[in-house]
Structure formats: structure tokens, C-alpha cells
Subunit: 621 residues, 2 copies
């Protein structure tokens, strides 16, 4: 829980970074941003002239625009909620502000690489090089027929179909390109055209709650040509998925907005990747998308009301081939977007992709896999007992910097690793810049070290061991970085509240693992692979994770950090129909577990809230 | 050709009726409408108050709005080009005005029934009655899975797919309807839902240049539940298809407009039919559309530039199954629109539908079929020689009232039959109201009678036989109805120009028939069936048609008038996959003939311009 603000104070949250600061009412957003250690562009030095510090106020009250600001707003008409950060002053206890990428000097670190299995390319799309003769009175075949006959002639006889949008593109392109074309086909359908001698490109997308990652592949070779990530723009409407689902459930317009935001972000990202790979968006002939259940529902514009109440059922959870135009995605006119199937409820397509990419379904090994996010999905496969189950636990945003006083996402200035050397706290920040907050992996390290050095006890209570533990506004707090050494000139602290948040999150994950092991009749000693996927999982110190009991100690297990496995699964399914079939089998064969239905989960949860005994810990080290 | 207007005169054309009147500059549109015999609604008596006489000025200059009109336009903001007919005054030599249906007291007669073969129902859509149990914690299957399992249980095991739009509809409908539903399926795809115990409906559409006809059928029984027609709203942008293609080719926005107009008209018409049949638009689970090549290109938003220049090639001419949502058609969320294939060039899907509906492809009879419109399609099937060919001749709008001084479409007040009894001209008008013009069948009758009674010679020259033939503004003219007996108080005349227009049109059609007979090595005596389809063909007097040489005299042929055969073909294909397959076979097996490629066509054309010799004529009678 974030600590409450006093009268006359405002808590300002900056998205998509997720960093927070408390300032006095009447403070400008530019100043609040500086207090939070953010470098907002303000070329004119805050004179309200350049318009470079534009931000969007998502919620909370602001003072009326000053004359200077009003003049700017009247002339530039920058859209609803947009304010000049150098002039706009906060007036309500809580204000949420979205910083556009261009107003921010430093970006967020986004994990978009995954190890994945070796990719086996069996593309669903083929590119054909055609040299056609133009129509004449003696040969007045339709444009479609001319292409169909040419494809037949090069040995691809089919009852060729063609989407009218592809036919429209053909009639225009053929005449511009003097009838020298590349034709893209899927099965017996011609789905698009480009100029002569072009490749076919594919886009794999992983829509996460926090970030969207995308990969551009050559569909014939399977080679990755470009990759990138952007923050999910829905972040401005809620850090966690429940807030966004509630927002979308309120009205069709709000649901539309959620869909448009993510579709727009995918298009923007794809355009960047195309630029890198010297491709054109109409040459993207296939798309594969994974995401958690909530993200997929919002992307597709499906109703979400039934996801907000028990028993949390999806509208649809099978794999889908959707006309990409239905999702407003910019690509070949007849291209489809393939969505991987989900296991059910909140165990979504991203989890199927992760199981697919690491080969968990047929490695023959007793495997536990987790992907930590605001929801954490867990899978347990025990080939010895034949049980293969998965679940989702709401672990909250604590590991992504949410609900933690000085928490932030993994961006420039975030403390990402912590270690005490000779009783002195040492840390490393992302990019090496002056610290302005702590990201997920940093909080796990910090908690492990505080526990190791007896700053906290097994129940998570802060102990006044030395002067670093002191009375804060809302109880005891640990001083991580004093104001003098921080990037924003304020103390960076870790409060009793923060510790409780992390404790609850790690307990939920650990109890989920333990419960799935019980259900699959797996002992700690049985587990051969403990797989940790996702951005947080990649930068997490596994020793710290075991030390605080986020992960159970499994004596025989190999602990693996596999990066963005969901993205890797999306890539596999993009270029291989066999992988799509495997994904279907995974979705059909993995049993979804609803933890609330299992009494043992609550018992495990109570136990897991505590920290592991020191004896266990030293064994684990 | 329409005769030119003198200085200070304006020719006002009223659409969709197509009637014309010449008035002085400064005349109000209401007065011009009255002069043309049109009853425009004007409840306030022309005081500019009620706004009931609103019309849209499509082209031509008007005087500036009066104060009264400006006040109305400012308050009602009725959209671009809209004027109050009682106030707006014409100022340029030619003005085209579109009268909205609601401003017109009497409508246009539209042929929308066809005889067709007996319909054989093999529907592609099935309606399933489902009673589902709601989700519980113990049974948290997705909404999709619940439906798929229920369909499996009632003996329809499939790998059921479902369009996301259908899934969205399901999640909402199921909870409103307490899980009692009708599910619509096409093959293994669930395409939509309705409340319990509902039928599945299908819509067959014939998009003509002049009119759009639609039919609502019960897809299980094949029964027709409702039928209706509306003028094609594109008429306001050109009577003939070439004008509309040129308009659409000018810019993407104009092409969009053409598409939107016809899509909107289909939706409006479908809504009316649904009301009659107590159906809802989301219960329309299948759609079948036919139309000529130009109409289909405009409907689909395909490029049309290549249809405007030789060799006049289509973008695509095969049959298509298109997501109905791509055409903005209101129906079940996963419904498709099936478009019948075309034979090629301007021999379109409507002609395939006509061949299909009359069974011309496998009757075993030597058959000639024609469908007269602004383009006339002709088919010749000679089973004796194995030749099966079709062509399209641009016959112009003369038979639809265009380019004829007092021509009009088949609406109230149109002279539709003409006969001389004891030297006195007798006529019948549609609805029996006072005559205001002559429609297509009336002009054919009139021409036949004038020729029979030697008012015109074999070359089509008017002869001053008596005082009914007189000098008009632009040459000789025949007085059909004197001002005293007409509905608008002006003479109704038939000019030498008009005769030439009809002569050219009938010659093109007759020469087309003769040329196809040559190509198929068919003599006049071989023909067993001479089939005339379409609205004009239905009301045409066949004796008159043979007398003026519109149709050749075929001694052994049965002459058949089959009504809207294109619509009948659309209905067959709507309810039968076998009919769709037959249509594909017709499109593949009928050879498209480009008449300009055949020298004999020009010879035939020259001959056919003349009227048949009287000897021939009396034999034909």
C-alpha cells in the first residue's frame, strides 16, 4: 500500500515509468518530475514556450491553465488532457500523468529477447515472383485470373482464391510495377502483393501488461531481422490488469479505447521494425500474437465483464485466425493474425507460448515454470505421475515497482542489484545513473540482504538494528540511499509497508508452486527444472529469490532464466504450423487449476508469507 | 441526345425518376417538379416553412438561398447540396436534382419478382437450439467451449471455430438470455447467436444500375418471407454505369461514396424486409449478392480505372466469400456475403445468375437470353454445336427513359403501352394517372405503331403523314399527348432525336444477338427459346419488340419473359451450395465475346439500325 498523503500534499505518479513523488499542492508537473528524478524535455527552460514538455493528465485535479499555457493550448490544440508540464500545477491529493516517449530523455528497459528452442521453419506463407503480360484485347483475362494462371504455371496449381482487398492492391500495383510482382499466398489464397523480388515478412507480438514486444522475421528462413519493445500504452489507465478490465467494462467507448491503444502501439512498433529491416508494412504477410487473457480480450474487443467475477471465464480461449484488418493492423491486405490458444481463465496464450518455447510438454523432465508479472502464471509438468497443470496467481505490481514507496520499473536510475559488503550497502543502477528508485530485482536483493543481516525477522518485521532503520511517516523504514546520494535529492527508503507488499507477492507465487506440486504429486526433490521466464525473471538474482522464499529450494533442480519465453513461443508459432498445432495440444492437455478451489493453497500461503529459516537458506547458498 | 436548351432556359432532371423538364431560369424546383408532373410534398403550401420539400442538388448552378431558405438551412443543417424545393431557384442551363423517397408522393415501379426454377434448398447455414448451464467455479469453461461442447453433444462433433465477433455476441447474449440460445453455424464455424427458438434468415440481393432488389428467405425451408426494391442511390451520380465509374475513378473518397451509397441502400432495404418478416438483422446468417461488373466493383471498393479502358478487364471475377462486415452489411457477426462469379469484362455475376436461374446451361435447348439495361447482356447456348458464349453491349439508357425528350422510368404517370385504334392513339399509364412521360415499354410500342402506320419509314425517318407530326425545336416530332390531356399541362412528344436513340439501342441489342448466333453457328430457325429477363423485359410487348427489330424473328422459338432472373439466381445460390457450384461452372464454361473483335458485328449493327421489312413483320404477328 502506498502511504497516505497529508493535507496540501499531492502524490504524482508518472507513467509509463511508474515512479511516484509527493509534492506540495501548486507544484508544477515539471518540478514534480524533477523531484522524481525524471528528465523531462524543456528546451525553453520552463518558460511555457517550446511545448516540448507536454504531458497528459490521466486522472486527478489540476489548477486552471495559466495565461501562458492557455495561449499555447489554444494555438496548438494538443488534445484532451494534454498540459504543459512547466506551467500546469497539481491541486488534488493524487494525480496520474502520462509522459509521452518524446518528452522523456531516458527510456524504460524492456526485456524482449528470449532464448527459446531452435526455430524450425515451416512457413504458412509463400512468396512467388511473377512476371506477367499485360491485358490486351486478345487476352482480356481479369487481373485475378492472370495471377492465378501464372501461379498454376509455376507448378502451384490450386483453386486460387483472393481477398478483394488483395485484388484491389493487385490492380493498382501491377500497373505501377509493369506487371512484375511478388505475390504472397497462404494455402490456396493469394493475400497480397509487393514489387518484384521481395521477401515475405512475419510479425510476432507478445502483448504484456507492462510492455509490448515484437519481432520481425523473414518468413522463408525464419531469421529474425529486427526486434523491439514499447511500454503498453494502456498503463496510463491502470498498472494492473483488473483496473484496466474495470475501465473497459464501464462502456463500449472505453473498451474501444483500450483496444485502439494496444493496436496502435503494435502498428507503431511494427513500423519501427520494418524501417530497421528495410521492409514495408504491406510485406508483413503473417502475424502471430500472444498475451495474457486480459490483454487478448482487450486487444480483440471481447466483453470483459465475465473476467471480473468468479469463476472468471474467458469469452473464447481457442486459437484464432483473424483478419488482421479486423484488428486495424497494418500488413498485407489478406493477412491474418494468429492468436495462440489459452489454457483457460487467466492462464493465457502467453503461458502456452512459454510452455511451447521451452518444450516443457515433451522434455520428459519434471518441470516447474513461472512467468512473474502482475499476474504470475505457473505450470507444473510431472511426466512421472502424468499430471500437467497450470494456474495463475494475482501477484500484484510489487515486482514491477507498484505499491512500493520508492518502487519503479526497470528504467534508468533504478537500483537493480543490492548487496551488503562489510556491513555497507552497495548497489548498482540501470545505466549507472544516480539512483531515483528501486525496481523489482533490486527489491528482492534488498529484502534478501536485510533478512540475511537480521534487519528483518522471519515474519518480515523491520528491526531497529542500527540507525539505517528509523521511524518514517507510516511506521519503520530502512534508509536505502540518503538524499545527498540520490538522483532527485530525496531519501530512497524501503518501508515496513513495502516489505509487507513484497511478502504478500512472493508468498502468493511460492504457495502457487507448492500447491501445483501437491496436485501433481511432486516433491521438492523430484523437480528437475525450475524455469523462470519474463523480464523480471531475467534480471532476478535466483539466490535472493530462494533466500526470501519467492522460489522454493529444490535440491535436484536446475534453475533456468529463459527471458521472454512468451515472445519466443510467438516466433515459433509464426513460422511453423507444427508449432501452432503443438500450442493447440498444450492448451487442450494442460489442466487449469483454480487455486481458490484448493484448501491447501491457503495453508501454503500462510506458511509462505514467512521467510525461510536461515538454516534452509545457508543450505541453498 | 437530349435537345439543347435556349438561352435563359434550364433543363431540370429529377432523380431517381429520371424525368426532365425545361423551365425558365429563376423557376423554383417545386414549380419545375410540378411542371414535370411530380407531386413533391409541400405541406406548408410552398411557404418555406415545413422542410418537407427538401431535395438535393447534385449538379448545376442555383440562385443563392432566399432569406427564408437560409433561415431554414441554418437551423436544420440538412447536409451539403440540400435545398428547399419551394424556395430554391435554378440558374444554369442544366440542373440535376435528387428527390428523397420521403419527399415524393408516388414511387417508382421496380421489378423484383422473377420466375426462376423451383428452388432446391441445401442451406450452408444451420440453426441450433441450445440450452446451456451457466459457468460455476466447478465448471469454469469459456463461453466458447460451452457452446462447442453443447454442439458436440447434439451430434455435431467438429473442431468448432468461432469468429471473435460471434464470441463477443455470445458472452453478452448468453447472460441476457439465461443461456438459452439459437446458434448459427456455417460448416465448422459458429457465426452468430440469437435468442432461443429463432430461425436463420438469408438475404439475396441483385444490385442493378437503376434498382436494388432484395429478398429475405428462411434458410432452412428456402421460403421467401419478404421482398422489395429501391432505386440505386448512385443514380444521383450518373444514370449510366460509365459516368459512375468515371466518378469513382477520380478519387478514393468518391469511390468510397459510391460503395457507401449502395451498402447503405442494401442495409435499409434489408431492415425493411426484416420488419415485414419479424426478423432481426443479426439473424441474417447468409447473404448472396449479384450485380453487373461495374456495380460489383463499386460495391466492393475495387479499382475501376481498368474497366474504363480497353480491354476492359475486371480486377477479380471469380466468386467470393467476403466477411459481410467488410461490406458494412448488418447481419450475424460472422456472416459472409457470397458474390457469384462473373464471366468476364462487363458480362457480370448478374448474367451468371440469370443463366443459372433459367437453367440455360443444361436445358439441352438452343437458347438465346438477354437482360436489357443500360448495358445489355446476351447469352447464346447451342447444345448442337457445343458453343456457349456471352457478351455485353452498351445499349444506353433509352429503354429506361434516358436520352429521350419525354422519357422517364417506369413510375406513376408513365405511358407504358401504346396502340392505335382506328387511327387514334390509345395509351395506358402506370397507375392509370394522367400521363407525364413515356417509359421504355411505351417507347417500343409507340415506335412499332408509328412504323406500322407509316409515320416513320424503314430508316426511322418521321414522315409528315398528318398534323400529329410537326416541326419541333430540333426537328420533326410526333405529338403523343397534347398539353390539355397531360398530367403537367405540356405536350408529350416523341422527336426524331428520340427515334434515333431507340434505333441505336435496339440495333446494338439485335446485332449482338445476331453476332452471337453466328459465332455459335446458330440459324434463326434453330433457336428454341428466346428468353427476355429484367424489368424492362417483363413489361415489354414482344410483338412490338420483334416489329421494330429489337429482337429478331425466330420462327421456331418460344419467347419467354422471365422477370428478374438475376434475383432469382441470387436466391438459388443463397440457399444451395450446389447452385453456387453450378454458377462457378457457368462462369468457367461460358466464353466471353468482345463484339468489337468481330467484324460481322459492325455489319450486323448497320443492318439492324433499319426497321424490319413490313413483310417480315406481318409474318411475325
Amino acid at each position: 500500500m502506498a502511504s497516505p498523503t497529508s493535507a496540501g500534499e499531492c502524490r504524482v505518479t508518472f507513467q509509463p515509468i511508474g515512479t511516484r513523488v509527493v509534492v506540495k499542492a501548486g507544484t508544477t508537473l515539471l518540478q514534480a518530475g524533477r523531484d522524481a528524478g525524471l528528465l523531462l524535455s524543456a528546451h525553453c527552460g520552463g518558460a511555457g514556450l517550446c511545448g516540448r514538455c507536454c504531458v497528459t493528465v490521466i486522472s486527478g485535479e489540476m489548477e486552471q491553465p495559466s495565461e501562458v499555457e492557455q495561449a499555447y493550448l489554444d494555438s496548438a490544440e494538443p488534445g484532451p488532457g494534454v498540459r504543459l508540464a512547466c506551467e500546469a500545477r497539481v491541486s488534488s491529493p493524487s494525480v496520474v500523468v502520462q509522459i509521452p516517449q518524446e518528452s522523456l530523455a531516458t527510456g524504460q528497459r524492456l526485456q524482449f529477447s528470449g532464448t527459446g528452442s531452435t526455430l524450425c521453419c515451416e512457413p504458412l506463407i509463400h512468396a512467388h515472383q511473377l512476371r506477367l503480360s499485360p491485358p490486351t484485347l486478345a487476352d482480356p483475362r481479369s487481373d485475378y485470373r492472370r495471377v492465378a494462371d501464372a501461379l498454376d504455371n509455376v507448378g502451384h496449381a490450386h483453386a486460387w482464391t483472393m481477398h478483394p482487398r488483395a485484388a484491389a492492391q493487385l490492380s493498382r500495383t501491377a500497373r505501377v510495377r509493369d506487371w512484375a510482382l511478388t505475390a504472397y499466398t497462404r494455402g490456396s489464397e493469394v493475400i497480397g502483393f509487393s514489387g518484384p523480388d521481395r521477401l515475405s515478412f512475419g510479425l510476432a507480438v507478445d502483448v504484456g501488461c507492462t510492455k509490448i514486444a515484437a519481432y520481425l522475421l523473414d518468413l522463408q528462413s525464419g531469421a529474425q531481422l529486427a526486434a523491439g519493445g514499447v511500454p503498453n500504452p494502456q498503463l496510463a489507465y491502470g498498472e494492473d490488469l483488473i483496473t484496466r478490465l474495470v475501465f473497459a467494462a464501464r462502456s463500449p467507448d472505453q473498451a474501444d479505447l483500450m483496444a485502439k491503444l494496444v493496436r496502435g502501439a503494435i502498428n507503431d512498433l511494427a513500423a519501427k521494425l520494418c524501417l530497421q529491416a528495410e521492409a514495408a508494412s504491406h510485406e508483413i504477410a503473417d502475424i502471430c500474437i500472444v498475451g495474457n487473457t486480459a490483454m487478448v480480450h482487450l486487444l480483440l474487443g471481447l466483453p470483459v465483464q465475465q473476467l471480473l467475477n468468479a469463476p472468471f471465464v474467458s469469452s473464447i480461449d481457442r486459437d484464432l485466425d483473424i483478419d488482421a484488418t479486423d484488428l486495424s493492423l497494418e500488413c498485407a491486405p489478406g493477412a491474418q493474425a494468429h492468436l495462440l490458444p489459452a489454457i483457460g481463465g487467466f492462464v493465457g496464450a502467453d503461458h502456452v507460448a512459454m510452455i511451447l518455447s521451452h518444450g516443457i510438454a515433451h522434455s520428459g523432465k519434471v518441470t516447474i515454470g513461472i512467468d512473474v508479472g502482475t499476474n504470475t502464471e505457473i505450470v507444473a509438468n510431472n511426466p512421472l505421475t502424468g499430471a500437467f497443470v497450470a494456474t495463475s496467481v494475482p501477484s500484484g505490481p510489487a515486482f514491477e515497482g507498484g505499491h512500493v514507496s520508492d518502487g519503479m520499473r526497470a528504467a534508468s536510475g533504478a537500483i537493480e542489484t543490492v548487496v551488503f559488503v562489510d556491513g555497507l550497502l552497495q548497489f548498482r543502477t540501470i545505466d549507472g545513473s544516480a539512483p531515483i528508485g528501486i525496481c523489482g530485482s533490486g527489491t528482492v536483493d534488498l529484502l534478501a540482504e536485510l533478512y540475511r543481516l537480521d534487519y528483518i525477522d522471519e515474519r518480515g518485521h523491520l528491526l531497529r538494528r542500527d540507525e539505517l532503520v528509523r521511524a518514517g511517516k507510516s511506521g519503520l523504514e530502512f534508509l536505502v540511499v540518503p538524499a545527498a546520494k540520490s538522483g532527485h535529492g530525496r531519501d530512497i527508503v524501503f518501508t515496513q509497508h513495502d516489505i509487507t507488499e513484497i511478502q504478500l507477492a512472493k508468498a502468493a507465487i511460492c504457495a502457487g508452486i507448492i500447491t501445483l506440486m501437491e496436485i501433481t504429486r511432486t516433491s521438492l526433490g523430484d523437480v528437475e527444472e525450475m524455469v523462470v521466464a519474463g523480464a523480471f525473471g531475467t534480471f532476478l538474482d535466483l539466490g535472493s529469490a530462494v533466500a526470501i522464499g519467492l522460489l522454493p529450494r529444490m535440491p535436484a533442480a536446475e534453475y533456468l532464466q529463459i527471458g521472454n519465453a512468451a515472445g519466443a513461443g510467438a516466433k515459433m508459432a509464426l513460422i511453423s504450423s507444427a508449432s501452432r498445432e503443438q500450442a493447440r495440444m498444450i492448451a487442450a492437455n494442460v489442466t487449469r487449476v483454480e487455486l481458490k478451489q484448493h484448501e491447501s493453497f491457503n495453508r501454503a500461503l500462510a506458511r509462505a508469507t514467512r521467510f525461510p529459516s536461515k538454516t534452509q537458506m545457508s543450505e541453498a547458498k
